[in-house]
Amino acid sequence: MTLVILLLMIVQVYPMLWLMLSSFRDNIELSTRPFSLPSSFTLANFSTVFLKSNMLLYMRNSAFVALVSLSLIVLLGSMASYAISKLRFRMSKAAFSYFLIGLTIPYQVTLIPLFIMYTKLNVLDTHLALILPLIAFSMPVTVLLCVNFYRYIPDEIVEAAVMEGCGPYRIYSAIIVPLSANVMITVLSMSFIFVWNDYIFSVVFLNSTHLKTVSLGLQDFIGSHGLTDWGATFASICISTLPTLLIYFLLNSRVVDGMTLGAVKA
């Protein structure tokens, strides 16, 4: 059984390890002895990426998109979840279900209508074109996680605050927000990975080189005839996935929790 696990581990983990090692190989060794340990660690691939490519620019773009998206995901998501779980109105259950349906909608269905809308509003080929669907498609998971979390905040606390004269806005800012830190970290780490890794919205809505995000930039080392500078590609993959890996290793269980819709509570 240990053998089976080992085998399955190799299948899943070895490619990642190989990728990291390969970013330090020169292209000749990559094509001749790709299994061996790199004979000499070369940083040439990384210098190619940093000096001769736009990777840093792409990372700055992705960081900007992530910053704006995450702020709004957290703000809009927690506000809506507060309304659904603590304020009292007839349609609160329906509103919750309505958000959850979004979990099953494929992104592709929205591309053409958004493209048409963006063309009319002149936001095609801007970061906003990306940010809007990234936020909107994060709402279902965010609302699911937040509402489930807010249900654990006892209604008595909220009611006591009302007795002391707090209005609905004050309850949100003075009680809900301070108590949300836990679930917010989950939402932030998961959303960061979702936003940083986006490909589909970037490829459809972005055109200009100076606006490209990392997922698009990873294609830059493929020449016009399909000839790929593999060393540089692997190095750029390593660099561009560093932020997500960092977040994953720091906030391990939060990331997993978010990506499995909170199904995992281990």
Binding site: T2, V4, I5, L8, M9, Q12, V13, P15, W18, S31, P34, L76, M79, A80, A83, L87, R88, I101, G102, T104, I105, P106, Y107, Q108, V109, T110, L111, I112, P113, F115, I116, L132, P133, I135, A136, P140, E159, V162, G167, P168, Y169, Y172, D198, Y199, I200, V203, S215, L218, Q219, I237, S240, T241, T244, V255, V256, T260, L261, A263, K265, A266
Partner: protein, 290 residues
């Protein structure tokens, strides 16, 4: 608690998210349905064609192939993710040492952009120059395979990118469910002399059936969102062998400016996803009652 019934406050808190979500996620489904009745290149006037696009779909050989490919693509992705995820999770419940480390490492591919994973697989699958997998095959004295250009292997090879990448997600889900099974249920099974296999099929599996249903839905929805791997690895080729609905829609709408026809494909994608989720829901509900 009249304060909590403040209608204005409800609107203030709920509306921003609700509006954005409705306009960006929900409305497009209706809009796609609307555009699917027109021929439109995005520039000239829209031409109402009624059900023309749908009639065209039925006769479109590429569409029919893409539809079939898409079902296969989903089948491959879902079976790999759920089966391998479940196997790894079961094995892990018997492991004591390094369990956390194994889980952490196993999950890594799930947090990396699919573009990177697709690049990695493109290099692994390579036929000439010989890629990693073919080197392994040659070493085992097996004929190398042009994975991405052979009709027989292209679709499966492309689907394995996503299948492989997210296996860790399902491992995590199943593992959490399996270790939440109360020890005394398992214990009493053991006392009754059940083998490990009987224990799994008669006690553990029924206990986590809900979670299996959830995992199936998650995996199905994920597979339906598939686009990047076929787009990046083969662009639908060779000869439409890896064309799925999403890549075909993308090509029609954004590369040949057939926005109406593209929308018709989008409607089919939406229908397919609703049907899929409903089906899985039904199936798990039925097997739970049984």
């Amino acid at each position: 608690m009249k304060v909590l019934r403040d209608k204005k406050a409800v609107l203030v808190f709920l509306l921003p998210a609700l509006l954005l979500y409705t306009v960006i996620v929900f409305l497009p489904i209706a809009e796609s349905a609307y555009y699917s009745f027109y021929n439109w290149n995005g520039v000239s006037a829209m031409e109402l064609v009624g059900l023309g696009n749908y009639r065209h779909l039925l006769q479109d050989r590429v569409f029919r192939q893409a539809f079939g490919n898409n079902l296969k693509y989903i089948l491959y992705v879902v079976s790999v993710q759920v089966a391998v995820g479940l196997i790894v999770a079961i094995l892990l419940t018997y492991v004591r040492r390094f369990r956390e480390l194994i889980r952490t490492l196993y999950y890594i591919p799930s947090v990396i952009t699919v573009v990177a994973i697709a690049q990695l697989f493109r290099s692994f699958y390579s036929y000439s120059p010989t890629g990693l997998i073919n080197m392994l095959l040659i070493w085992l004295h097996i004929e190398p395979v042009p994975f991405l250009s052979d009709y027989a292997t292209a679709l499966f090879s492309v689907s394995m990118v996503e299948g492989w990448q997210f296996t860790g997600v399902y491992m995590m889900i199943f593992f959490a469910a399996l270790i939440s099974i109360p020890a005394d249920i398992e214990e009493s099974g053991r006392i009754d002399g059940a083998t490990e296999r009987q224990l799994f099929f008669h006690i553990k599996l029924p206990y986590i059936l809900n979670v299996v249903g959830l995992a199936l839905i998650l995996s199905l929805v994920g597979a339906l969102r598939g686009f990047a791997a076929p787009m990046l690895l083969t662009r639908g080729g060779p000869g439409n062998q890896t064309e799925i609905l999403a890549t075909y829609m993308y090509k029609k709408a954004f590369l040949s400016a057939q926005l109406g026809y593209g929308s018709t494909i989008a409607v089919i994608i939406a229908l397919l996803s609703f049907a899929g989720v409903l089906l899985v829901n039904r199936a798990t509900a039925a097997s739970r009652d049984a």
